[in-house]
Symmetry: C2
């Protein structure tokens, strides 16, 4: 029988948690997360790739994506390279590379490319100077647009404009929706949990006094 007991935690309880317990707890609360490998290269040609779980949609016109960077973490090399070269790629994580993707979070020195130590493959194409992750099915090239400092805790929101997108042709539906589940992208929760997904439904555009209907995606390429 299911236990219906609910636990309540106050801000004071949270502030008194042991540090690692608190990090695991609070990182779980924001819900399921995107999992992306952000790949960069520095001015000397040294590549870098790191996993991020904070990529978010910012806008469609112009096409903008954002992610949060913590200056004191393994993510700092990504930020340095983006500021140095102005370009980066966002590559979706799938089940066949999730362990290699997780390993990119280790604090390697700047001289070591995570591509070398994790077995992920850097791919250069279509005249874009930052590397893509070859094993990723959805690859997005971006140009740095705006850095926003979050004064509440010193983290940074990096905004980029999409320059190029590579997607499996059979995952693009006729209304523009990209079926990222079909493209084998996965999701994360907390700091360390990886999940596949199973579609419940797509729903029609919500309007007052109009019943929602399920939408069936149509694809031109199968």
């Amino acid at each position: 029988m299911e236990n219906k007991q609910t636990s309540l935690f106050s801000l004071n309880d949270i502030l008194n948690f042991e540090q690692h317990y608190r990090a695991a707890f609070i990182n779980s609360l924001s819900g399921f997360k995107s999992l992306a490998l952000i790949a960069t290269i520095d001015a000397n040609g040294k590549s870098n790739v790191a996993i991020f779980n904070s990529v978010i949609h910012i806008g469609a016109h112009p096409p903008l994506m954002g992610f949060i960077s913590r200056p004191d973490s393994a993510e700092r090399h990504t930020l340095l390279n983006i500021k140095e070269t102005g370009v980066y790629t966002i590559n979706h994580v799938n089940q066949s590379i999730y362990q290699a993707a997780h390993q990119t979070a280790a604090r390697y020195s700047k001289e070591i490319s995570e591509f070398t130590v994790t077995g992920l493959t850097e791919e250069y194409k279509n005249n874009f100077s930052a590397p893509f992750v070859k094993e990723s099915n959805i690859q997005i090239a971006l140009k740095f647009k705006e850095q926003i400092n979050i004064s509440s805790n010193g983290t940074i929101l990096i905004i980029g404009e999409i320059q190029q997108v590579f997607i499996p042709a059979n995952c693009i539906s006729t209304d523009g929706f990209v079926d990222i589940e079909k493209a084998k992208s996965i999701t994360g929760s907390g700091l360390d949990s990886y999940h596949t997904t199973q579609r419940i439904a797509r729903l029609s555009y919500a309007k007052p006094n109009k019943a929602i209907e399920k939408v069936i995606s149509q694809f031109n390429h199968e």
Copy 2:
């Protein structure tokens, strides 16, 4: 046989997409998303609840969460109420309420509470003045902390500090990880797609020259 053909889209292609096609396309690229009902109340006691797919972790100490608001959308009432009262709640969406959650995105006038028209239940407890969504298994009370204007496209990042958290006791593991899949939280993709999840694994903290191990969550309450 799987079609391995890859489609390439340039920034120029994207800018020339039909508007709704572009919105569906670009909203898909950021990966899987959190699904949260943000509930508020205005100074006159009129409640509001709206679905958001942009809630992200900002930091654990202090415990901070963020979300993106588009000033010209149905999300504007949420923003107005947060600025007016300084408080709001974030409530995870689960499969039993996903259609009602989707319907909150319709553009109702300010006099109409989405709680009334969608069948979601507003719940007031523990001296917090904003309503929780009763049907949600993970409920978080927040205090407004910081508004950040994103100059690239006029959207707004709202940051709040966690004040209270309600979680099913049997979903909290002994290391602080909250099993949101066990709590029946779901994830979204694009503008309109809803998905359940299936855990692949939790992975141990990544360090250079150390093999990753799978982590099995332990629970005190079953």
